[in-house]
Symmetry: C2
Subunit: 222 residues, 2 copies
């Protein structure tokens, strides 16, 4: 279904995630059909963009009738790979790592942090939720035994590359990096660095835009 | 500069953030010019998209010569509002809130969490970094006295709406919500809910795509 040719660009994949979120809300509200225009509105893009994004993966819905909510949601889960559970290995059980282990937003999408590692002897053995923190020296063994493909880096910037190297050596194929530094991974491994400031910039852009609308001129620094 | 007409769509604003990240890396590497094509490549979009996004805000660069790295970075910071410091108020100093207070990725972009609040008496008064946790009952007063416009919600899903209401009542204009639940805010307030699972889906999409390429067929659930 998504296996033909080059992978879709990241921006399109991100929109698929947002379409899926919206479809799940609609499903909960017992809505059975939705038009591309209204699905786009909910996500902040045009109906044409929705149709183009979906056409990349197959034929969904019918002109004038719209998309069947249930079917399209199932198809998107399959395209994004979230139609099944993904066991995930996390390294770095500080404040952020602990919060991620408990984050409901992962579990709900099928992402289960099934093991967590640290190198700090004071953290090894403690429980975060129902998970006992393991010694990072056992990472490769645990990951291979459990055939884990996804890793999350929640260590500081200074250790992130070292952890990424350890993960790829252990066979991890996809890495979500929360350290505020870019990591290098070998060909064939997918990594993504989360930059939380990007979300705040979406908000400050709006605030600055509104300020300028009120003043009628570009804003000086306050 | 960005004050004319309707605000840019969120997807375009997010791309501006990514262009800015790339420009700052180039600047650190002492690169002075970049073409739209190469700037796009670094971000995963076309040169045409870069030119279209930037043309929305003014005239930058010259055909055949490219964009001046320094100037364009300064212009993007001004458009995104990150040419000055934003004091930010955080509510909920659990694991996630503590991690956000310490997050280097905010400070580097000019976002400073200048006050943090909780309602748990056991947390009030403790220090996270150099910040003493305040009683949430003082939120409105502190925010007004310090003219804080940005708020971060780091409480659980069950309390998020209540905190959002408190924030908007205190005059907060932009809210970044980390609780895995949508919040409602009045007209004129901008909110954005962070969904960390979207980042993992970008990765699993790639993994599933590669699996299918190898097999030559769509993948069944494992």
């Amino acid at each position: 279904m998504s296996g033909k040719g080059a992978p879709a660009p990241e921006s399109a994949v991100t929109r698929l995630s947002h379409y899926l979120r919206r479809l799940e809300q609609l499903r909960a509200a017992r809505v059975v059909k939705i038009s591309s225009r209204r699905l786009g509105e909910a996500v902040g893009c045009t109906g044409a963009q929705v149709r183009k994004d979906l056409a990349r993966f197959g034929q969904f819905g019918r002109p004038g009738i719209g998309y069947p909510v249930d079917e399209l949601a199932a198809a998107l889960r399959r395209i994004l790979g979230t139609h099944h559970r993904w066991n995930t290995a996390l390294v770095g059980v500080g404040n952020l790592g602990s919060a991620l282990v408990r984050y409901e937003g992962f579990k709900r999408r099928g992402f289960v942090i099934s093991c967590a590692f640290d190198r700090d002897p004071e953290r090894i053995g403690i429980h975060v939720g129902s998970l006992a923190v393991r010694d990072v020296s056992t990472f490769g063994q645990v990951v291979r035994e459990n055939r884990i493909r996804l890793g999350i880096i929640a260590v500081g910037a200074g250790e992130a590359q070292e952890v990424a190297d350890m993960m790829t050596a252990a066979g991890i194929e996809g890495i979500l990096n929360f350290a505020p530094v870019e990591i290098n991974v070998p060909e064939g491994v997918t990594s993504y660095t989360v930059d939380l400031a990007v979300s705040l910039e979406r908000i400050t852009y709006r605030l600055v835009h509104r300020d300028e609308e009120k003043r009628g001129t570009p804003s000086p620094a306050p």
